[in-house]
Symmetry: C2
């Protein structure tokens, strides 16, 4: 089943979704952004779409309107967009509740959340991205499932509470993991050491964790309750009290787990 | 240049180093463990070594004695081991200072620290493991360099302060990264969600971080200073105050970076 989709937004998510949807045989009718230039960054990646900088979609041929926007902008754009009769409006956020779309002119609403951190300019293989759906309307959910399954084999339909849990978990798994790597890089840099020395360790640690589970994969001074080393590391980090506190707190949590 | 090496210890490091050293042409003369059974777990992996459960090495033909022990045991075993004249004693820890070997019967001392988290039963390709060396004696350092280069192309010689910085960085990069994944797994589990949903996100996040650097790779609510989401997530985690505090503190550090 092929759909006509309008994309609202010209960021990382739109940059990745637009060609993926088109490749799967759907038609992107329009791409909206605040400026035509921004919208063209996306339409240039695909065949058919028209760039747009106004929110009047009353003449659009699209059936599904997809808000690929930052979390802060979703409610505002949803309130302002003028949609044709019978249209389905979805957002692509892991965080924003479904009901922020309640005051829009859409007949049906839903969530179409690709669980991945996208970057403009770096093409992500959507085949390996789980897509999380939500809607209170069963027919809408079936429609979104068809759309999602056409670009990814991993499609989940969750309620808002599940989606929030998933997003919190994703923050730990992705943003906070990345921040641990950031801190490691900075300790190396401060000491004049090559951060690439850590690469094999990181790759091995993460692949082991994914293979046997993080609980079994843990090693290190906190797990061994090696208080002397913990104390020494804490002292080493005293140049940055917030960092020392992060070290203390995570070590404590490893010991408590 | 080939060496005769005695290994003291039968844990993850010895399990991995013994065959790697033998494959590189060195001779493992003995493997010591508290019980012969444990020592045999290692000697069975290689051709020539004799298992041993006593610390009298006065008749050993080895030139290099390698303490592949837990950090806590290094000083004790170093004090007790009886070594032949002219021998070189090294430990394999990233944490323990070189001078804990000062009271041993060795003529020369050093550190031979493979920067990797080893697991027994999971063979690590030492080709991709940096080896960090330390010694106050230039000739010893040269000898250790030869030994290290025979099993890994990445050999670094660092002072004790550098090695400590490296170890703190490694704790963040490996143990703490793993703990973030652990927390994510548990949030998913608690909500009855499949933790494998997060796998693609984790793989993408880490590979992006290694590719473009963790600073540039960061995304998420803390980076966007999306206080509403941070507050919501914090509330979501209120069932475990320590977890909520970890969330708050790392988010704060991301905002401050």
């Amino acid at each position: 089943m092929k759909f006509r989709v309008a994309l609202l937004g010209a960021g990382n998510v739109a940059w990745n979704l637009a060609p993926a949807l088109e490749d799967a045989g759907h038609e992107i009718t329009e791409v909206y952004a605040r400026t035509l230039g921004r919208a063209k960054e996306i339409t240039e990646r695909i065949y058919s779409a028209e760039p747009k900088d106004d929110l009047d979609f009353s003449e659009s041929r699209a059936e599904i309107f997809m808000l690929a926007l930052s979390d802060e902008s979703i409610a505002e754009v949803a309130d302002q967009v003028i949609l044709p009769e019978g249209s389905l409006l979805v957002h692509t956020s892991g965080t924003v509740p479904l009901d922020v779309l309640a005051y829009s002119s859409a007949s049906y609403t839903g969530v179409f959340y690709p669980l991945q951190s996208f970057t403009k300019g770096k093409k992500v293989d959507l085949d390996e991205v789980p897509i999380v759906l939500e809607s209170e309307d069963e027919e809408t959910l079936q429609k979104l499932k068809k759309l999602a399954k056409s670009i990814s084999p991993m499609v989940y339909s969750l309620g808002s509470k599940d989606r929030k849990a998933l997003h919190v978990a994703a923050v730990f798994a992705s943003n906070f993991t990345n921040h641990m790597l950031r801190i490691a890089e900075e300790i190396m840099h401060r000491q004049g050491l090559d951060k690439d020395m850590l690469k094999p360790l990181i790759i091995e640690a993460v692949s082991k964790s994914l293979q046997i589970g993080a609980k079994k994969a843990q090693t290190g001074p906190a797990l061994r309750e090696d208080l002397e080393t913990l104390e020494e590391h804490h002292r080493f980090l005293s140049y940055n009290p917030q960092l020392a506190e992060i070290y203390r707190l995570i070590s404590q949590d490893i010991m408590d787990s």
